[in-house]
Amino acid sequence: MTDASLTSSTSPVRRLLARPTTGAWVAAVVVLVFFSVQTDTFMTAAGAGVWLESASRFGIMAVAVALLMIGGEFDLSAGVMTGFTALWVGVCTTQYGLNVWVAVLLSLVVALAVGALNGVLVVRTGLPSFIITLGTFFVLQGVDLAVTKALTGEVAIQGMTKVPYYDSVQPIFGGSVEIGGGTFYVSILWWLAFTALASWVLLRTRAGNWIFAVGGDLPAARAVGVPIIKTKIGLFMLTAGAGWLVGMISLFRTSTVQANTGVGQEFIYIICAVVGGCLMTGGYGSAVGASLGALIYGMTFMGINAAQWDNNWLRTFLGAMLLGAVLINLWVRKQAEATR
């Protein structure tokens, strides 16, 4: 085949720069080295266990949100979904005595239904998903707080460990192993598996191709018969499903859930995806990049604590990183256009 013409137009450096994940790889290495040198606890097994755990939860969500963003949409209800699903299980089991397995599956069904609703509203109305999911976000947030308070009189679910069969579900979502003095949670495996699967779907399957197409140019995708409605609704359901998975991971790791769990984290997922190379305008990005974005977040979160800095700097750092990523993306694209 025409391998010569494949490489003729662009230099290797430019092509490396143009890859969505390059910046995220560089940033991840920089953050890793920085905190390893700066603090004693970061590069220990105990430290790694902490930042990998946090990266895993944010990674699962960031990957789903990245796919959605590549498909041209946002989901502001993604954060609150992690709390909503966990509360659903908590309430059903501790308040109504529902079997924990049934409650877990039921919460998945409910999450997928909310995702489908988001998707249907977006494709049917043509309104920006930002608005639609802002609505679902607030609805779910209100439900979380009101229902939890009404049923328990508190703002958290307690007593999960006394639920029958709790121990049979717990290891699946909240299990851990001790290695070299560090605690490594099973959520890390979920994260790696989810990233690998998402990456495979995105790059190797027709569905993945359609995700790029609907986000890249919706009218064109529609005109050539790409199933845009299925693709978009599927993406919203995927994001909600990821919210469920992370909800279960949080619930069964800590055996408790706060009524406000996940609120505000939707923006962190978006930041992770953008830092990982996704374009906010859709049609471009990668699952691995989003995972790296979450890894950077997890490492920074742990690193700032380990360095005993004021925790509030985390937000400042995230904001700066988002701006940096967006500016670099913009610059790379300008460069590419300038040499055309």
């Binding site: 137009s9 191709n209 790409v226």
Partner: protein, 246 residues
């Protein structure tokens, strides 16, 4: 005539809210026939193309393909019935490579997991652009890196590749140079020889006289008339388009 029309349009009417885009439109296109659709800007030509390709649903009227009444919910429906389109805006995805644009929505897959067969799609793209003489750097080139003419060439190549029954072309040579236009006209005549029915929208009357068998005129949503190309003079055609006596 014993052969069935590839395309029959009966009383097609299209309303966008209060705007009437097409008043009433009737047309038959036989297999192996090229019909030109002409009219001034905003006459409703693209709207008609999009109605036949399933992007819009007619407010009223009937579409038949090879005698069978059809009603398309979307473009993939029409595609499944053998309708291929070169849209005026080309309908190409800028961020994707050329080969992916050719196969978008109909990607080739391989293996039990039905993974994308990128190598084969790229190979078939290369064969196709070579055959049609569309000059692009590579099937792997990103679409946004191509010139307007190259992009139009890709859109035409896509429709040609999949063409079975009916091909709709909305100003397919608008962005092309003289040599490229001649190439495309050759391609259109080859489609005709293959037995495809072609409906071509064009503002270029010389082109209409070169390739079309018949021509139908739209003026501000109203179908003014349909003529055999060897029975109409250019002046009459201009008069039909503009509504002014020559």
């Amino acid at each position: 005539m014993t052969t069935e029309s590839a395309l029959e349009l009966r009383g097609i009417h299209k309303q966008f809210g209060a705007v009437t885009a097409i008043e009433r439109f009737d047309l038959d296109v036989a297999p192996g026939e090229i019909v030109a659709l002409v009219g001034d800007n905003g006459a409703g030509k693209s709207t008609l193309v999009k109605i036949i390709s399933g992007l819009y649903q007619p407010t009223d009227g009937e579409i038949r393909l090879s005698g069978e009444p059809v009603s398309f919910r979307d473009a993939s429906d029409a595609r499944a019935h053998g309708v291929e389109v070169v849209y005026q805006d080309l309908a190409l995805v800028d961020q994707q490579p050329v080969y992916m644009n050719l196969f978008l929505g109909r990607e080739l897959t391989k293996g039990p997991l039905r993974t994308l067969d990128r190598a084969r799609m790229a190979r078939e793209t290369q064969d196709l652009v070579t055959e049609l003489d569309v000059r692009i750097p590579s099937p792997h080139a990103t679409l946004s890196d191509l010139s307007g003419g190259q992009r139009q060439g890709i859109a035409i190549a896509r429709a040609t590749h999949w063409a079975r029954g009916l091909v709709l072309m909305d100003e397919p040579t608008a962005a092309l140079g003289v040599a490229e236009t001649a190439k495309v006209e050759e391609t259109i005549l080859r489609l005709k020889a293959r037995g495809a029915a072609v409906l071509i929208v064009s503002h270029n009357l010389e082109q209409v006289f070169r390739v079309a068998d018949r021509v139908t005129v739209l003026r501000r949503g109203t179908q003014v008339g349909t003529r055999r190309i060897d029975e109409v003079a250019k002046n009459d055609l201009v008069a039909m388009i503009t509504g002014l006596a020559q």
